[in-house]
């Protein structure tokens, strides 16, 4: 029976696919835990640095600040840093980041601005290459590092800073997926240069301590801002890696479930076919016997 054999083959192949997706889901779950831990561990530094920046910036009060904080007074040239994953098979994770970046680029181009793209992660580059290959200035490969460290973020930030110093762009923002939960990741655009500093809330203003500064505010800020960019890039990369694993986990969970459904359906069909084959064989034998 050719048909029976074919069905059996399909069931075997779907079963082995299911095994793979199940394993990938488990690996993603383990990696997600690590990524979440890393993201949590990095939070205190980022929070405190932000608090320090807020108090420094509010201390400036209208005085001329560093260019990293106040910008160049123009928003003609934009640099978009697009952070994605190195691997696929994680649902819409990579494509949604790339799509958000592409939409932003389209909007900026339509408004007559110049756009440059710096890709972090292979998948984002692959997605943007077709349409925007002229805009992509470089590509940072992170596939070598298994776990994102601060050392991975620093070169990216330094690259952006060097370009800013060389007057190659006015505004820089980074695209990444913020980790909300395993099921939801939020594509986020964050402006890095000029630094976006949250307004000090009233509560903060009440608790405002009058700090002495050593050296002057401007000097500390000049030192703090470049570091802050590294920290923001690092934070984005960590969020991204947690999101990627979360997205992969739910995508693989779905795939495993779909494979299970397919196996059930195929098994049912296989059994029906088998029964039909037996019945027709029986009929053949019986009618053969009757003819005698």
């Amino acid at each position: 029976m050719a048909n029976l054999k074919e069905l059996k083959n399909r069931i075997t192949s779907v079963t082995s696919t299911q095994k793979i997706t199940k394993a990938m889901k488990m690996v993603a779950a383990a990696k997600l835990r690590h990524a979440e831990e890393a993201a949590n561990a990095a939070r205190p530094y980022a929070e405190r640095m932000e608090a320090m920046m807020v108090s420094l910036a509010s201390g400036l009060e209208g005085r001329e600040g560093p260019r990293l904080l106040q910008g160049k007074g123009s928003d003609q040239r934009h640099l978009l840093i697009v952070a994605t994953g190195e691997r696929g098979l994680c649902g819409g994770f990579n494509s949604s980041i790339a799509k958000a970046a592409a939409q932003r680029a389209e909007k900026l181009i339509a408004a007559g601005k110049d756009v440059k793209i710096l890709c972090v992660g292979k998948k984002g580059r692959d997605a943007l290459k077709r349409k925007y290959s002229k805009l992509i200035i470089d590509f940072v490969d992170l596939s070598g590092s298994k776990r994102i460290g601060f050392g991975d973020a620093q070169p990216i930030a330094q690259r952006a800073l060097a370009m800013f110093e060389n007057d190659e762009f006015d505004v820089c923002s980074i695209f990444y997926a913020k980790f909300v939960s395993v099921l939801t990741q939020e594509v986020t655009e964050q402006q890095l240069i000029p630094a976006s500093i949250p307004e000090a809330s009233d509560e903060d203003a009440e608790n405002e301590v009058d700090y002495d500064y050593e050296p002057e505010e401007e000097e500390i800020l000049a030192d703090l801002l470049p570091r802050n960019i590294s920290v923001q890039v690092y934070k984005a990369l960590l969020e991204n890696s947690a999101s990627e694993q979360g997205a992969r986990m739910s995508a693989m969970d779905n795939a495993t479930r779909n494979a299970g459904e397919m196996i059930d359906k195929l098994t049912l069909q296989y059994n029906r076919e088998r029964q039909a084959a037996i019945t027709s064989e029986l009929i053949e034998i019986i009618s053969g016997a009757e003819a005698l």
């Binding site: 890393a38 561990a41 990095a42 205190p44 530094y45 980022a46 405190r48 640095m49 320090m52 108090s55 420094l56 460290g149 601060f150 973020a153 301590v209 009058d210 700090y211 002495d212 500064y213 050593e214 050296p215 000097e219 500390i220 030192d223 703090l224 570091r227 590294s230 920290v231 690092y234």
Partner: protein, 133 residues
Amino acid sequence: MADMVTMDLVSPEKLLLSDAFEMVVVPGSEGDFAVMAGHTPITSSLRPGVISIYEGDTEKDRIFVNGGFVQVADDKITVLAEEAVHVADLERSNLEQRIKDASEDVEDAKDDETRRKAQESKDHLEQLLEALG
């Protein structure tokens, strides 16, 4: 028991230390300064150097930081450092060997980029050695 100050030492990757001490000396970029309870609020940048923690008159702990920032307010010290190592964890002979290797790297470097990187790591190691001295 004398009044204590709490110190949080954070690196980008994690919270390294959070504890209460009697006195902490930090290497400010315009000179070392000691922080005890009741210190005036201050924000300062740090130069690469050693944070010394004192209990009474004795030095209890020494931590090397490669620069960063410190903020003092309400008997709380927050140190932001990109790298921090306990001085006790450093070994002189090991460090000297690494400096030697690094200087060889500087000499062997084929292009400017690798040379710059090698020089950077060499400078870094020398700062560590200085902290140990």
